[in-house]
């Protein structure tokens, strides 16, 4: 994967498969600490301790179409390669929480990438219900709750192409606003 946003999409897809009704993705740039923190949290079915131990193993997957599962191992590698940390917590019946930190100026930190496309892809999943995104730096904060959007456009569906194109641009503009000049790859 070439972008953090691709990893986020991949991880969120696990949440969707775990029947999550609300997924929250929060990305925060702690400029003073040179740290980019991403937390993905869901209220899906969760995992027991035994399964949780296995998820970082590429040769473990719950799926039946192929025998390997690289989503979490790749994401974890991307964190560690940039001098960051990776934590995963899960409780059966309650949900799962992943916290990934990256050293902002590390040469091997992946660029944030196309967040708008990631949000659109999540919203298009048949199991999608609700996504809350929080973007913040030390001074500013942006929150997007898809339930709020659904309420405004009702009875038009959020998966309508017109709405999706708006959503993509709305997310991208706010990514630039919050992370422009903070992350090297975003000029703002």
């Amino acid at each position: 994967m070439k972008e953090l946003s691709s990893h986020f999409l991949d991880i969120i897809e696990n949440s969707l498969k775990a029947c999550a009704s609300t997924i929250s993705l929060s990305i925060c740039a702690h400029i003073d600490k040179n740290l980019l923190e991403a937390v993905i949290e869901d209220d899906g079915i969760g995992m027991d301790a035994e399964t949780l131990q296995k998820v970082s193993d590429p040769f473990y997957t719950s799926r039946k179409t192929r025998k390997i599962g690289l989503g979490i191992p790749l994401f974890r590698e991307a964190c560690l390669a940039s001098g960051g940390t990776f934590e995963i917590h899960s409780e059966l019946g309650k949900g799962t929480r992943i916290r990934a930190c990256f050293e902002i100026s590390h040469v091997d930190r992946l660029p944030l990438g196309n967040m708008g496309e990631t949000v659109v892809a999540v919203v298009c999943n048949v199991h999608f219900k609700r996504l809350i995104i929080t973007l913040s730096n030390s001074l500013e904060r942006f929150v997007l709750d898809t339930d709020q959007i659904k309420k405004i456009i009702e009875p038009v569906e959020i998966s309508n192409p017109e709405v999706l194109c708006w959503l993509k641009q709305y997310v991208d503009e706010n990514v630039n606003k919050i992370f422009g000049g903070v992350l090297d790859e975003i000029t703002g």
Binding site: L9, T65, L70, C124, I152, S159, P161
Partner: protein, 123 residues
């Protein structure tokens, strides 16, 4: 800057358009979006479909994503499902190929035979 207020406009416009729905209604585009698909570039492909549908005002064709179909080496994979349930599987997709599938298959009903899994497996 995009604002939430614009959504109200989109809502009104879309509701008016719904009255003018075409026979293309009920077609579904399904993009494989597991780790293998994402790494191979499925996300920009999905986005190209959405933008092309918007451009052509085909709001009654749905775009959804699915997990791994099982042939990771041919990702990005896209299935186009007709209203009668019959299905065409396109492989090794790109944003440009996505635009072609919308123009030829979705709009004109002509399958892009050279992009299908059948064509790829014969090579």
């Amino acid at each position: 800057m995009k604002s939430l207020a614009e959504l109200e406009e989109i809502r009104k416009k879309t509701l008016e358009e719904i009255k003018l729905r075409t026979a293309k209604g009920g077609m579904r585009i399904v993009v494989g979006m597991a780790t293998c698909g994402i790494a191979a570039g499925a996300r920009p492909v999905m986005n190209a479909f959405i933008e092309e549908l918007k451009k052509r005002n085909l709001s009654d064709v749905s775009v959804t994503m699915t997990g791994c179909i099982g042939v990771c080496r041919l990702e990005p994979i896209v299935e186009v499902i007709n209203p009668d349930g019959s299905k065409v599987t396109y492989v090794k997709m790109t944003p440009d190929k996505a635009k072609r599938v919308v123009a030829e298959h979705i709009v004109n009903g002509r399958i892009c035979a050279d992009l299908t899994i059948g064509a790829a497996e014969q090579q």
